[in-house]
Amino acid sequence: MKQHSALTQGIILCHCCKKPAPIQDDKTTCPRCGTRLHRRKPHSIAYTWALLLASMIMLLPANLLPIMTFRSLGQGDPATIMQGVMQLLDHGLLGIAFVVLAASIIIPILKIVGLIILLLTVQLGWTTNMRQKMLMYHFVEWIGRWSMLDIFVVAILAAIVQLGNLASVTGNTGATAFAAAVIFTMLAANCFDTRLIWDKHLEQLEVFP
């Protein structure tokens, strides 16, 4: 079966309304919605790299700084994500500890690693396992929202648990950093144009005009 892309057929897909439009020149707009037409997402690789880099940078304070302080009867310390996980483990809450660990640490890292692999695939022109890579991209995009779990927990607790000396929860800078990291990865995943994976392969097949 011959593998073709729309581009090889001289058609550009509108980013906004997904209307296929014939390639005329670079400065055409979508005949339906007036959006500017690009063959591929412009600067996708650079944007993805920049956002990914920012995300990686923000992940450091997110894990090193405490994200939340839970005080009960005057005692309680700011805790980082890892400390929170350890506390949960100490209390024997293995399942919750795993969920938190997965959502807060493993998934962001996996996302970043996945995106790096995709970016490297595009830049270095790797043409192996493209379907698996595509699958990985979908996973990264789908799982990204779940990383906000921690942030929601902190936000809700900080809003609700304000019982003075009895118990109180305050968010810390770690949460901000973590939220930024998650947002950056999500944006990065969004900026990445998956068609680029296939472009190289098609190029090697010399199907491009």
């Binding site: 020149d25 920049a50 956002l51 920012a54 995300s55 940078i57 923000m58 950093a177």
Partner: protein, 868 residues
């Protein structure tokens, strides 16, 4: 490539998106930097135990602020101690010198207070006290307990020195009048180990209480001091019982205030803290002297033994006495000390006090210059005469239990003592020599009265039982007491010989000399034939209220009567005047007469113990002190105040003792007794005329016996049938006399009121005494009597016309006899019966008619009736 291929120009600048990672890096870097910038200095503190410590949890606090947290705990290499890795806040860097201190604070709940309550929830924490100077270092050793608070708060820091700490620990409070004014900061042994140094902090607002001479004492715990004479339990506040406490007092408020870090002694107890003069006293080695033994001078405690130490060669016992500063004057050269041991023997109980107290030191003051170091006598000295004082001599019959050294008491206060005693030359009396201390010598006056105050004086009477002892000491030791009666005459100090009475009652004349009520009392005398049951102390009653008291009963010198001396309370003197009547109110008086039966007694008390009552019927002139009254046997007698007269009656009519003597129907006297004299020819009747009948004791008074008479016309003097005959009297007008002749018949001519006439008739007819006289058939008078004329030719009838009718009798009035029934029987007139009245038909009577114009008749006029 075609022409219309786009010209591709390369951008040389990187995309703006690359600012994002840069910005993120900056923000993250800043965050991380900021976070780790707060991370402080790592130090190491070595604890003996990690109990209560927890890594990442246990904090370091300075003044309540967290200044660090334990990061890690690890056991020392030699497994003996625990190293805590602590991260301190950067601000503490400068104060982490070798003077900085760390200690673990654990919750501590005790009665004296709750400390570290916050650690109950938060767990223990480490307290940190920064060092302000010294070498910086990073390794410290924790203290076992909190260091003394920093002496930088305002207030007073003083150091107390004590022999032992005795539950005065850190945190023990300092109290003043049971108000907390400070606390013990720390206690430590002095460097030489002989004293305990107690750092004490006084709050700023109380620092003025602490002077240089303030005396502190340990008020911790319960202090029970049991001696035989007393048990003394001192209890501080509950907190001080358990946690210890320090009290203080300042003897001299004017002393300069104490300065910081002044060193003051802390005494063991309140007593030890009391001020006293320290006196060195050396005893022989084998003396049984104990600390705390009291020092007495003349039975008064003036100090105590503070300390007893044996000299190195065991020969002497050196003691330090604390003497009350007030007794300073006793500590003179020549003052003698000795140990008074308790002795008990059957004969001699005079050291009973010592027996209870245990041994004590006796001090006899000397006269020389002041001295503070003495040597005690081996044995008690023979008591010698008081060097100063007033010597007195007492004479008594019996020595009683008085011995040498027995006290002389004045108001139960010893003011002197018995020095010696001896029999006088004849062996009749005991002479007791006593000395009164100089300062009390003015108490002994010339009229002082002494009595033997030994033993128990038990007085039992109707008032109750009175138990009197002077003091427990004199109960056993004997003693002499005295009092001073109110000043009556000027004291002469030369009197030195007194009588010693056997008891207070005698000395005070039954209390008369001392009773304040008698000071202004009215003194009266009462004369009585016998004292009855009256005695000193019995009350004088007025309307059954006690208004006075009998002071004394004295037998008159002639032996015929008794004179009672009595005092009337000043408030009641107005009740007594010359007319007052006194009677013996003792016992029960029963007055039995036909009219009434009256039983009375004044009061239950007088019923048994006697008493005098009085009454004042008439206002009269006041009396002077020592007025003599007569004491009557009873109330009735006193009312009657009888006057004795003697009447000789011819024998014939019965007269009984107690018969009435009447004057115009009123009882004015009573027959006392009747004696037959002159071989039965006459009766000598002694009569008591009552107060109202005194006027009968005059010459020409006449007395006659009245007996009931039963006649056809009636009964005269019917009461005489029951009560017996009585004596009627008629007053005379001569001088007072007390002997009379009486008769059986009433005097015929009686000067009754009205018109008294004499009517002369040949015969008496049916007239009798009491026959009426009619005027127009109205009775206007009565026949009072009749008699034969001297020559026996006529009868003289004595008639009395009542005053209101006297005018109807004229000098030429015609009297006629209306007695009986007059019958005129004539042939032509028939029978004419004429009678004045039924009464005159039986009893007889006289009637008269008066002509219109004539002079009124005079008393004593004589009229004639020719025909009866």
């Amino acid at each position: 490539m075609s022409d219309h291929d786009p010209v591709i120009t390369r951008r040389h600048l990187p995309s703006a998106i690359w600012f994002l990672p840069l910005l993120a890096a900056i923000i993250a870097g800043w965050l991380v930097y900021k976070n780790y910038d707060g991370k402080g200095i790592l130090i190491e503190v070595i604890f003996d135990s990690a109990a209560g410590l927890e890594a990442n949890k246990t904090k370091v606090f300075y003044r309540g602020l967290p200044t660090g947290v334990v990061k890690e705990l690890k056991v020392d290499n030699d497994l003996r101690r625990v190293r805590a890795l602590i991260e301190m806040v950067p601000q503490t860097e400068k104060s982490l010198t070798d003077q900085a201190q760390f200690w673990l604070v654990k919750p501590q709940v005790s009665l004296s207070g709750v400390r570290g309550l916050e650690t109950l929830l938060s767990g223990s924490y480490i307290s940190f006290q920064p060092g302000d100077k010294g070498l910086h270092k990073r390794s410290f050793e924790a203290l076992d307990q909190p260091p003394p608070p920093i002496k930088n708060a305002s207030g007073l820091y003083i150091t107390l020195t004590a022999d032992n700490a005795r539950s005065v620990y850190q945190g023990a409070k300092v109290y003043f009048r049971d108000i907390e004014v400070g606390e013990v900061l720390s206690h430590a042994l002095a460097t030489d180990g002989k004293k305990v140094l107690i750092e004490t902090y006084i709050e700023p607002r109380f620092t003025y209480l602490i002077k240089e001479n303030t005396r502190f004492w340990n008020a911790s715990g319960i202090k029970v001091k049991a001696d035989l004479p007393k048990i003394d339990i001192q209890i501080g506040s509950l907190a001080s019982i358990i946690a210890g406490g320090i009290h203080f007092s300042t003897p001299d408020e004017t002393a300069p205030p104490a300065s910081n870090s002044q060193i003051l002694p802390l005494y063991d107890d309140y007593e030890a803290a009391q001020d006293g003069i320290e006196v060195q006293l050396r005893f022989p080695g084998a003396t049984e002297l104990r600390e705390g033994a009291s020092v007495l001078s003349r039975g008064i405690q003036i100090g105590r033994v503070k300390q007893v130490t044996l000299t190195d060669d065991f020969k002497y016992l050196d003691s330090i006495l604390l003497i009350d500063p007030r007794a300073q004057d006793l500590l003179k050269e020549g003052s003698r000390f000795w140990l008074q041991k308790p002795e008990l023997s059957l004969e001699n109980l005079d050291q009973l006090g010592t027996l209870l107290r245990g041994s004590h030191i006796e001090l006899e003051p000397g006269q020389g210059s002041a001295q503070r170091s003495f040597t005690a006598l081996q044995i008690a000295p023979i008591k010698r005469q008081l060097s100063q004082g007033k010597a007195i001599e007492l004479r008594t019959d019996q020595l009683g239990s008085i011995t040498k050294g027995s006290p002389v008491l004045y108001r139960q206060l010893p003011v002197g003592e018995v020095i010696n005693y001896e029999l006088d030359a004849k062996g009749e009396q005991v002479i007791i020599y006593a000395a009164i201390e100089q300062r009390y010598s003015h108490l002994v006056k010339s009229n002082s009265r002494f009595w033997n105050a030994s033993g128990i004086d038990l007085t039992a009477n109707i008032d109750g039982i009175e138990l009197r002892t002077e003091s427990a000491a004199t109960l056993f030791r004997g003693g002499i007491a005295f009092f001073n009666p109110p000043e009556t005459k000027k004291a002469t100090t030369k009197v030195t010989v007194y009588s010693l009475y056997s008891d207070y009652h005698q000395a005070s004349q039954q209390g008369a000399l001392t009773d304040q009520r008698f000071q202004n009392a009215l003194k009266i005398r009462l004369h009585s034939l016998e004292s009855g049951s009256l005695k000193a102390g019995d009350p004088i009653l007025y309307k059954q209220i006690t208004v006075g008291e009998i002071a004394q009963t004295v037998l008159n010198k002639d032996g015929k009567g008794v004179t009672l001396y009595a005092f009337i309370d000043p408030a009641y003197t107005h009740l007594i005047n010359e007319g007052s009547r006194f009677w013996n109110a003792s016992g029960i008086k029963a007055d039995f007469s036909l009219q009434q039966l009256s039983i009375r007694s004044e009061s239950l008390k007088t019923l048994i113990s006697g008493g005098i009552a009085f009454d004042t019927d008439y206002p009269g002139a006041g009396i002077k002190p020592n007025h003599m009254f007569t004491l009557y046997q009873d109330r009735i007698t006193s009312q009657q105040q009888p006057l004795g007269i003697q009447v000789i009656f011819p024998a014939g009519k019965n007269i009984q003792p107690n018969s009435d003597v009447r004057y115009k129907g009123q009882t004015v006297g009573k027959v006392v007794n009747v004696a037959v004299i002159h071989d039965g020819e006459a009766l000598r009747v002694n009569i008591d005329l009552f107060r109202d009948g005194h006027f009968l004791a005059r010459k020409n008074s006449r007395f006659w016996v009245v007996a009931p008479t039963i006649r056809l016309s009636g009964i005269e003097h019917p009461e005489g049938l029951l009560t017996g005959n009585y004596i009627e009297a008629l007053s005379g007008d001569g001088p007072a006399t007390f002997a009379f002749s009486g008769s059986h018949k009433a005097p015929i001519f009686q000067n009754k009121n009205g018109l008294n006439l004499i009517i002369r008739t040949p015969t008496l007819g049916s007239l009798f005494k009491g026959s009426p006289i009619f005027y127009r058939q109205v009775p206007v008078g009565a026949v009072t009597g009749y008699d034969l004329t001297n020559n026996g030719e006529n009868v003289e009838i004595y008639v009395n016309i009542q005053p209101e009718y006297a005018l109807f009798v004229r000098s030429n009035s015609q009297f006629r006899n209306v007695s009986g029934v007059k019958m005129d029987i004539s042939l032509f007139g028939g029978v004419k019966v004429n009678a004045d009245s039924l009464e005159t038909m039986i009893g007889g009577g006289l009637s008269f008619t008066s002509p219109a114009d004539s002079t009124p008749a005079q008393s004593g006029d004589t009229f004639n009736i020719d025909e009866m």
